[in-house]
Assembly symmetry: C2
Homo-oligomer: 219 residues x 2
């Protein structure tokens, strides 16, 4: 491939980007199956020929959208202010507070594209499912270092695994999004985020020294 002269990067509002951005909007609102190729073309102001010029299939677009989602959301969190805090626990709590701050508008605006697509793709399209998994678990992984540091700095009385707790934060958020969609009310998300915050605080609370009895084996 030759990139000779000046403008070889596609113009910023390129067809491909417009389609991906439209897909994020529509899929978050309607889901993947209910979003047709024609919907996407109309929303992006693009012809069907252009669509299939850039993406071999709707499934390929879905994978690309999941990757696009990973990148754009990754950038938001990477540049967020909570990384600057000195105490690793404050960084974790800062992340949680940021998640709460991002709950604005409708469910379609604050919910997670990857979680939405997972439900529809997990049996019909391994490629899409894997892309969603990469987005969710990749994001969870960005919390691990801070959690590990917090555990090392202030070991909780109960055994806590950083990776597991990082995944749990994502489970809480994904589930809260579902409840918000069902109730048609964003408040339930804030509620669950508050419970998550309280859980993390309790885990690292110095008040806990007489160790809580380990969760008993179930019969």
């Amino acid at each position: 491939m030759v990139l000779p002269t000046s403008t070889r990067t596609p113009p910023e509002g390129s067809t491909r980007t417009r389609l991906l951005d439209a897909a994020v909007r529509l899929v978050r609102a309607k889901g993947l199956n209910a979003t047709t190729v024609d919907d996407l073309c109309a929303a992006a102001g693009v012809s069907k020929g252009a669509f299939f010029h850039h993406f071999d299939s709707k499934e390929r677009l879905a994978v690309a959208v999941a990757d696009h989602w990973s990148q754009t959301t990754g950038a938001v969190f990477a540049s967020a202010g909570y990384h600057d805090k000195a105490d690793p626990l404050d960084r974790v709590l800062g992340y949680i507070d940021l998640r709460a701050d991002l709950i604005r508008g409708t469910a379609a605006e604050f919910s997670c594209l990857a979680g939405t697509m997972t439900q529809e793709a997990f049996e019909s399209s391994p490629a899409v499912r894997d892309a969603c998994a990469a987005s969710i678990f990749g994001h969870a992984a960005t919390l691990e270092a801070d959690l590990s540091a917090a555990i090392a700095a202030n070991p909780p009385a109960v055994t806590v695994n950083a990776a597991s707790l990082a995944r749990h934060t994502q489970a809480v958020l994904q589930g809260a999004f579902i409840l918000a969609k069902a109730a048609d009310d964003p408040a339930v998300v804030l509620e669950s985020i508050e419970h998550l915050r309280q859980y993390v605080q309790l885990l690292f609370s110095p008040a806990i020294h007489p160790p809580v009895p380990k969760a008993k084996k179930r019969p």
Copy 2:
């Protein structure tokens, strides 16, 4: 209407019931949009005419399936053994342990029908969304009495609202199901259930007396 003689209740494996049971299976596996009316008829061994004899539309079926789901799962939890425990906290922990016990097989087998349908219906079909909401929040409500009693018996240092905590348990489960679908691995559900259990234990742990600082208002 006259119901004179003997058999007026439809036969137990009735067409309607077969369709509802088939719908539970297919929708949990493929989602609502990806499940066609023909799929349902084939799975239930029923003709298309019979389908539309019993349900005016696919949407009506979806509502009926959500109600059916509420009833069948409601019966399972209503008859479970954890209600017999004397200590309300033990009943709550017993519920959580039961949820863990029910994680068997594939995601399509243990995940929640209402949560799955919510994602696809919340913008396109208020009727289905409301039926899903009734299922999820109705189930959450069955936990409230035990949580209230536990709070009354052993007030946590941090303020806890029973209804809010009950909803949070459902958020954790719903989110864990999504992560399990993404990872194609039921283990992540058990992980999050364990975190939920630990959160409840910590909340009610007598070790917490120097009150944890109240969650700060976000800027």
